[in-house]
């Protein structure tokens, strides 16, 4: 009939029918709403710009962990190693005279990626427990390294004097944190776009295949080791950029950018929000840091106690984190 044919022609011209059942990368309305929030916050909550920058940086760091944990299924207890490597790279560059921010980020990404590649060679061998121990050991090794090389890194006192040049030659990194916030937001958003595309790509599908059916992957001809090395390297680069952002915006690199507390913290943030969903990590980072900002000041003991209890409850009753719980809730509602 003429009507149906006209519709078909219109459809063919406007968009190709994406097949149901595979990722097509289309943007959901909620995603757009999500990204408007930090933009709005810049204007609506000017007193919280510094906290906001911290959230954006943590979001990028958690995103990097989601790539290896949520998508490839590698549990790492030493992910802060790449964060710290990126931070020290950017910090040392600035301290030694090169304060250009964006090339600093690039340098941090490259160095972190190189370290990530080397670590990935160790991590793909062995079982879950071995991997846990190796990642833990590597994380601690880097902390020790930074501590011992105190003449370079400043040791436990940290690396101060990280002065940055103007961003793109135009914007000074001001005390109020305006430039820093916009800088962090743009970097996070751009890298999120990269991660999002990666996750919806054949590589992303392959990684989910490794996570979902490790035994079947070699049986369909997939080079599992190569894929894991690839994503580990990419994730390390992301983490390195996050660390570099921290160094550049706070003008300081503390040794706590490495070490187990930082690795444990990013793991907690990811799990709270929900791993394997990209947005889960960002939400988890935001909630964690907001709660920390409010509660830890009141009583560090109660903060730690509350965090521990929350972890136990999440693991026992809400395994998918916030987004996982939301997904289950909506699935039940629509009867799927």
């Amino acid at each position: 009939m003429a009507g149906a044919r006209d519709t078909a022609i219109v459809t063919k011209h406007t968009e190709s029918r994406a097949p149901a059942g595979v990722a097509d990368g289309r943007w959901h309305a909620l995603e757009i709403v999500f990204w408007l929030v930090p933009i709005a916050a810049y204007f609506v909550l000017p007193d919280y710009r510094i906290l906001g920058s911290q959230i954006l940086i943590a979001g990028l760091f958690v995103l990097s962990l989601d790539l290896i944990l949520g998508y490839a299924g590698i549990v790492s207890l030493g992910h802060a190693a790449f964060f710290g490597v990126g931070a020290y790279t950017a910090g040392l560059l600035a301290v030694h005279g090169w304060g250009e921010p964006i090339t600093g980020l690039a340098a941090a990404a490259i160095v972190a990626a190189a370290v990530g590649y080397l670590v990935s060679l160790l991590v793909i061998r062995g079982s879950d427990l071995t991997r846990l121990m190796v990642t833990l050991g590597v994380g601690l090794m880097f902390w020790e390294l930074a501590n011992r090389a105190a003449s370079i890194t400043g040791g436990v006192d940290g690396l101060a004097g990280v002065t940055m040049w103007n961003l793109l030659g135009l914007w000074r990194f001001d005390i109020a944190g305006r430039t820093a916030y916009v800088y962090c937001f743009v970097v996070l958003f751009l890298m999120f776009l990269l991660a999002r595309r990666l996750v919806h790509s054949p590589l992303g599908l392959s990684l989910r295949g490794i996570r979902e059916g490790g035994k079947r992957m070699p049986a369909i001809g997939a080079p599992v080791g190569l894929r894991l090395r690839t994503i580990f390297t990419i994730a390390a680069a992301f983490a390195g950029v996050a660390g570099a952002l921290l160094a550049q915006t706070t003008q300081f690199v503390g040794i706590d950018t490495l070490g187990f507390p930082r690795s444990g913290e990013v793991l907690v943030m990811l799990v709270l929000g929900g791993a394997g969903r990209l947005y889960g990590g960002l939400i988890g980072a935001a909630l964690y840091l907001i709660a920390h900002d409010y509660l830890a000041g009141l009583s560090p003991v109660y903060w730690q106690l509350g965090l521990g209890v929350l972890l136990v409850i999440v693991v026992l009753f809400a395994r998918g984190g916030i987004l996982g719980g939301a997904a289950t809730f909506f699935a039940r509602r629509t009867g799927r």
Binding site: G308, L311, V312, L316
Partner: protein, 286 residues
């Protein structure tokens, strides 16, 4: 300090590590549960002995069994209430759960005891040194090594010669088959967890002088216990024993001969050993 001195200190330190970590080896091998909170039981034993020594005036040697007992009871209670729900969960869930327990234990310890190191006064007969072959050896460290040696032999005999020990061995090997043979696997799990936690508590109490005791104990030493078990091989006694002794000696030697390198040596050693022996030195279950 001579090489003998370094060896002696290293063996004492390693023995203590072994005592605390052996419980983790058995529970990891038995329930395949990655328990990062194992050090919290050691810490519990430590604080129990502190309370008994300082506030109740109970003698040192009597406080030790109390530390064992209370840590064991805590182990059973937590195992039945919480741990057993996660035996089939992913390792990630187990890691997160036990990290949560660690944070809770640190918070509780800080609340009741404050953040600083607990001082311990050893009984007079355990202080000082004794001369053997022209060298001085710390009496307390001799006591440590002797105690751990006796306990290890006892533990090995228990596992090898008793019915319950056989039940443990069967359940480690194949829990489903063991259940099919009529072994009450739940009971085995609960009592084994109690035993492991109790030994950890005892180790924590014994180790205050050597390892120190503050609320961060579980985090500070977590990696060492895991290292001993991962490198030695979960589910065995011999493996973690050798791993602990090697670790102890290398750690002391490292700190003495190359102090500028510090803990780096240990972590590097661990990574290398794990790469060479992914299932641990003696392990079969990972």
């Amino acid at each position: 300090m001579s090489i003998v001195g370094v060896l002696f200190d290293g063996i004492a330190y390693g023995s203590l590590m072994f005592l605390i970590a052996i419980g983790l080896s058995i529970t990891l091998g038995l329930m395949n549960f990655v328990n990062l909170a194992h050090g919290a039981f050691a810490m519990l034993g430590g604080y129990v002995s502190v309370i008994l020594l300082q506030r109740a005036g109970i003698p040192f040697l009597a406080a030790l069994p109390a530390a064992f007992f209370i840590a064991a009871v805590a182990g059973v209670v937590l195992e039945r209430a919480l741990y057993q729900r996660l035996y089939r969960a992913s390792h990630l869930d187990q890691v997160l759960f036990s990290i949560g327990l660690v944070y809770i234990s640190i918070a509780v310890a800080t609340y009741f005891f404050g953040p600083s190191q607990q001082p311990v006064r050893l009984p007079a007969f355990l202080q000082g040194q004794v001369e053997i072959g022209g060298r001085g050896f710390g009496i307390y460290r001799l006591f440590l090594i002797a105690t751990v040696a006796v306990l290890t032999i006892g533990l090995q005999l228990f596992i090898d010669r008793t019915r319950f020990g056989a039940a443990i061995r069967a359940s480690v090997d194949n829990a489903t088959a063991a259940a099919g043979l009529g072994i009450n696997v739940n009971l085995v799990f609960a009592l084994t967890f109690a035993l492991g936690s109790g030994l950890a508590g005892l180790g924590g109490a014994l180790g205050i002088d050597v390892l120190g005791l503050d609320p961060n104990f579980p985090l500070k030493y977590m990696v060492y216990f895991l290292l001993v078990v991962a490198v030695g091989g979960a589910g065995t006694i011999k493996g973690p024993l050798y791993a602990a002794l090697i670790l102890g000696v290398f750690d002391v030697a490292g700190k003495y001969y190359v102090p500028q390198v510090g803990g780096f040596v240990i972590y590097l050693l661990m990574v290398v050993l794990l790469l060479l022996f992914p299932a641990g030195l003696y392990g079969r279950r990972t």
